[in-house]
Amino acid sequence: MSSLWIHPAAILLLGAALLPLIPEKLRKGWLLAVPVLVFARVLMLEHGVFGQVQFAQWTLTFGRVDRLSQVFGFIMALMAIIGTLYGLHVRRAAEHVAAWVYVAGSIGAIYAGDLITLFLFWELMAFSSVFLIWFRGRKQSLSAGYRYLLVHTAGGLSLLAGILLHYGATGSFEFVAFDVDRPTAAVWFVTIGFILNAAVPPLHAWLPDAYGEGTFNGSVFLCAFTTKTAVYALCRGVPGLDILVPLGVIMALYGVVYAVLENDSRRLLAYHIISQVGYMVAGVGLGDAGTPFGQLAINGACAHAFAHILYKGLLFMGCGAVLHQTGESRFTSLGGLYQKMPWTFLFTLIGGLSISAFPLFSGFVSKSMIVQAGFDSHTLWAAFLLMLASAGTFLHTGLKVPYYIWFGKNNCSKETWERAQDPGWNMNAAMAVTAFLCIFIGCFPQYLYALLPFPVEYQPYTAYHLSETMQVLCFTALGFFLFLKKLTPEAKISLDFDLLYRKGGQAFLWLARHPIQWVDTAVGDIYRAGGLIPLMLGSKVIGLFDNKVVDGLVDGVAATVGSIGGKLRGLQRGSVQENLTVAFAVAAVAVVALLLIVS
């Protein structure tokens, strides 16, 4: 094909390489011009296959442009402009370089037409984005960065293993939809690589760990690119893979639960990424392209990714501005800031209303497509649980975040309070532009719908949908204010799966101390209840017999009961191992019995 085809990621990489050479005076201009140029290039792209390079016996395709890659390319390039504008005043050139290389990795992966190219850009993303965490410069940032890298290396290895197995089986590196009806080991490995980046539990703990620890503007980039590139890869590679529906629903609820417990505003937002990406993952799972609801689901996943990048970016910008100005992101050190940072409050509130899917805000027109697809495909449990999760979204991001930063009890130290004020013009401008886009998409969804992979017939603004949404959201707000005391943030952290690799051996001890001890106590309780009640019943019967039957017999029965009781007591007093052994033995017997019956 044309040798003059310019890859949008190439512009960004070149811009990043030249950035340190640009004189200080011209730097801000350069920082604005390069992402705008990239965005313009994305808009100019025509559909087709471009940028093919012969490498050994394989053809690498750098530019596969179709409707699916275009909608993601569009929003990634747009977010690059917004993110750079937000951090425009950051002096250290290396921070911008890292962010741009990261964005280039994402855009490169999106336009990749073969699995080798995809893998190369996939790894580029991981290795450049880690700097956005390290540049925060705290002791914790360094170790959080290493953990982030470690987890992504493992995910990358799984992806690579899948790619090689797939090549071995089919002899092709082409990146098209895998056969999800008869998934091979190769498909599972590739899917694990994808869902690790999409932060599907239990492969999700890297996300809040890293995004809570990034620089104030680094997290704005982080929150947009890694997970949504993974959503793109899922849409492309495994649409209609059934297991993604339950996984997505679990994600949506998991993030909500941890958001209740979270005290750090940016970690709370990070848990809500998991929750929101859950909707998209469920959408991909429903996305069997041969059915109308499948097309609606894929459209929904893409539309929601698009809207999500904007409103989550806006939320991270709002909380990042609070962190940047005050040095604090924990609710227990903030509060009552509305007098000091009113505009940041307004923008964050708009982000919160968008993520909560309020009518006239962007989430309303995108999230509902996925829920609708769930109802249409008669996957009612999934649709209702996603509705439940959306109540949780409003509860935290729409209410808890604004309330405990800008209202509520003022926990600010004197220093925090004095430092707090609305941020500089570029940060305000970035937030204002994003807030405008969130409302624009919510009011005029047809512009977003026109970008989606399949034609859209869906109409979000029906009387029923409006009534349904307003009821759920407003009565969630009622619950929030009724149980406000329960929700007061505590100066604590919540343990998650990262415990397994952060504490290693200590993690096992914790397991032994808490859940297993809990099970042990519960088993003991059951034995006690199970031992005592029959014992008492038995003695009642014995009491009856006592009057009529020979005393010797009674003594004999009592002795038997006593020995049984002693054995039971031994079990419940016995250590974990003993109880586990008994439990395993019972389970083993049950399994064997089942096998015998079945066969």
Binding site: V256, C474, I493, S494
Partner: protein, 83 residues
Amino acid sequence: MKLVALIEFLRARLRAVIWCCWGLLGLLVVLDIFVDKHHAHTAAEHIPGFWAVFGFIACTLIIFVSKWYGKAGIMTREDFYDE
């Protein structure tokens, strides 16, 4: 700053704001009686105020289940990982 003035204005009349909110909640349920429900997917959704009850129960469930989960040993001190 006009935005602050607006917030202070509303805060000074908190009682009235709360009454307006109660009114809104009531209005939403009343309006739901008249909404065309042929888009509904299940029979339960035809009950007026179904989603209001759903939303309130969802919110309550999320708060109490999460808090229970946190208290069961998941929430721990901030310097847990520092040692």
